[in-house]
């Protein structure tokens, strides 16, 4: 038990911070209720998927600068596919878009493996390419989303046997997020592939010498990141009802939240729960600052400062742990 706590101390700390922030929010704004929490989760949804994508890649020892552009591409594709189509067609469109994200991610991975160009440069180039693709698919914001998809992340669902007061705090958006992340992450974490991803992240050479198929693992890590990015793109279309070809602010946010969440740049360490909690913390801080009627422009400063200070602290602690 203590070993478990020690191993996950960072994530537990983040959870505690999140709960403290929630309590703090309730204190400064007694009206803050389940509905507000629901909209918080909805706003955090695309960020959460973006950071999930980024985390997998960083754990594998890379970095994906194309994540925001990939979300834009998948979002416009979904919006165009569903535009004017029947409600049932969305059942085809969603898997199609997810597959597309997977393939685009795999392309990233393949290019990195084949060209031997550093990850950061390949995904930088792909950032431009995907941005262009999104603009070609849809020149200006438009398209549509199936109604049931839009409804899926709104409101709550009653769970039999659980008090309504509790289910009110479990918005559908949260369920969608947890289910889709768990469906990918839990099997992955228990599989050989998951282990290989951590292995190539901590030392590519050691992994190679122990017989890990480095190239294949890397390609699959990027492909899974693409899958998460596609989920992020879909969630954008779901929450806005349209697709927008200009990438949102998800690149910087995803790197920041991944690092805050305990994923170490350079690879091999961290998980996916921490970064997602970190996303919620960052969003909640933003809400709190608005509630405290802080100048919205100053919010960016505070967010950035939090990120810098936390990261410096984390690095300092890691440094001390290593030297001891």
């Amino acid at each position: 038990m203590t070993a478990y706590i020690r191993r996950n101390s960072w994530v537990i700390g983040l959870f505690a911070l999140f709960v403290t922030l929630l309590v703090f929010t309730k204190i400064i704004q007694p009206d803050y209720d389940a509905g507000d929490f629901g909209s918080l989760v909805r706003a955090a949804l695309p960020f959460a998927f973006a950071v999930a994508a980024q985390s997998i890649v960083i754990i594998a020892g890379g970095i994906d600068l194309s994540v925001a552009s990939m979300m834009a591409v998948t979002s416009v594709t979904a919006a165009v596919l569903m535009n004017g189509a029947s409600e049932e067609f969305a059942l085809v469109a969603v898997p199609l878009v997810l597959a597309m994200g997977f393939c685009l991610g795999a392309v990233n991975g393949i290019l990195i493996v084949v060209t031997r160009v550093p990850d950061i440069v390949v995904t930088l180039a792909m950032l431009f390419v995907l941005e262009g693709v999104a603009l070609l698919i849809l020149g200006s914001p438009g398209g549509a989303a199936a109604n049931w998809l839009k409804v899926m992340i709104v409101g709550t669902v009653a769970i039999p046997g659980v008090l309504a007061a509790i289910t009110a705090w479990i918005p559908n958006a949260l369920i969608v997020l947890l289910v889709s992340v768990a469906l990918v992450w839990i099997p992955l974490k228990r599989s050989r592939l998951g282990l290989s991803i951590y292995a190539i992240g901590s030392s590519q050479l050691a992994a190679f010498r122990s017989g890990v198929p480095v190239s294949r693992t890397k390609i699959l890590a990027y492909a899974l990141a693409g899958l998460f990015a596609a989920m992020g793109g879909l969630s954008l279309t779901m929450s806005t009802g349209i697709g927008a070809p200009i990438p949102g602010p998800y690149l910087m946010a995803s790197v920041a939240a991944a690092v805050l969440g305990g994923v170490i740049l350079g690879g091999g360490r961290g998980g996916i729960v921490g970064p997602i909690v970190a996303v919620f913390i960052l969003r909640l801080v933003r809400t709190d600052l608005t509630l405290l009627s802080v100048d919205p422009n100053a919010t960016t400063i505070i967010e950035g400062t939090i990120m810098v200070v936390v990261v410096m602290l984390g690095a300092y602690l890691a440094l001390r742990a290593r030297s001891r």
Partner: protein
Amino acid sequence: MTMASASANPPVPLGRRVKRFMSDYPVIPLIVLLVVLVVILQLIRPGIVNERWIANTIKFAIPLALLAGCQTMAMLTGGIDMSVGTVATISAFVMATQVVSIDPASAILLSLVPAVIIGAVNGIGVGIFRVHPLVMTLGTGLVGFGVLQVYQRTVIATGSDIPDFLAWLGTGLTYGVPNALLLFVPIAALIIFTLKYTGFGRLLYAVGDNERAAKLSGVSYWKVIVTLYVASAVLAGITGLLYVGLIKAPSLTLVEPLLLPSVAAAVIGGTSIFGGRGGYTGSIIGALILTVMTTMLTILQMPEGARRILFGLIVLFVTAAYIRIVEDR
């Protein structure tokens, strides 16, 4: 002549020798590529390549090349500086809004203060706390942008101005030669000289090549890193001042669009993103290549989307080809 020497040395095939020559002089293939691009441009639109066009290209390549200088220095140590876009924008914006009330020289000095501060914070974070440079500089860039937004609201009524001398430097031509070269040539010479012939330059390579070895040989890591990031930020600030003289319209995202291309220019120029290898000459040519490429894509009158796709593909292709040439021995 080629044939004579080839027959004198039969075991080494010509292709191999060309390759070795290129990897010994990595700037040569880049210059060849630049010339090829210009020739293609001339073929697409005969007559476009004239004195005026060359001057214009150089004018727009200089800010990019300066920012690529920041990236080159940072990348030599295995780092990267993602805050240069914000730093340059802050300097440009502060200068343009302050010059309304105080004299240009003080405004310029004042505008470089935030650059020094951000650079120092970057250096302390990376050098002492050992935060990953990418995260550190992204973070300070974010904070800087927030501060700029708040600052903008305090000066919203004062308006802005560009001192004549900066406009002259940014856009002016003397006998067909861009005045910006007056600023660029000394800076470029200084960077190249520093990297090649001074102790500090060697320290940058040493730290990037093998940090542990450098430390064991008595290099004070944090001093090198702090100096580097302050220098990088000041250079970015100067770039911002020059760029606002060129564009003449200060805005909150003035230099931001040059950030990712500056990384691309340094990488195309052959500086390894993992540190220890590269130089500034390559980055300058990289910046020229990117600028010519942008012109070419504009002239082809493709839709914006297709233009971005091509830009990305070319950056990827050039880097991949370059890595093949330089690394395959």
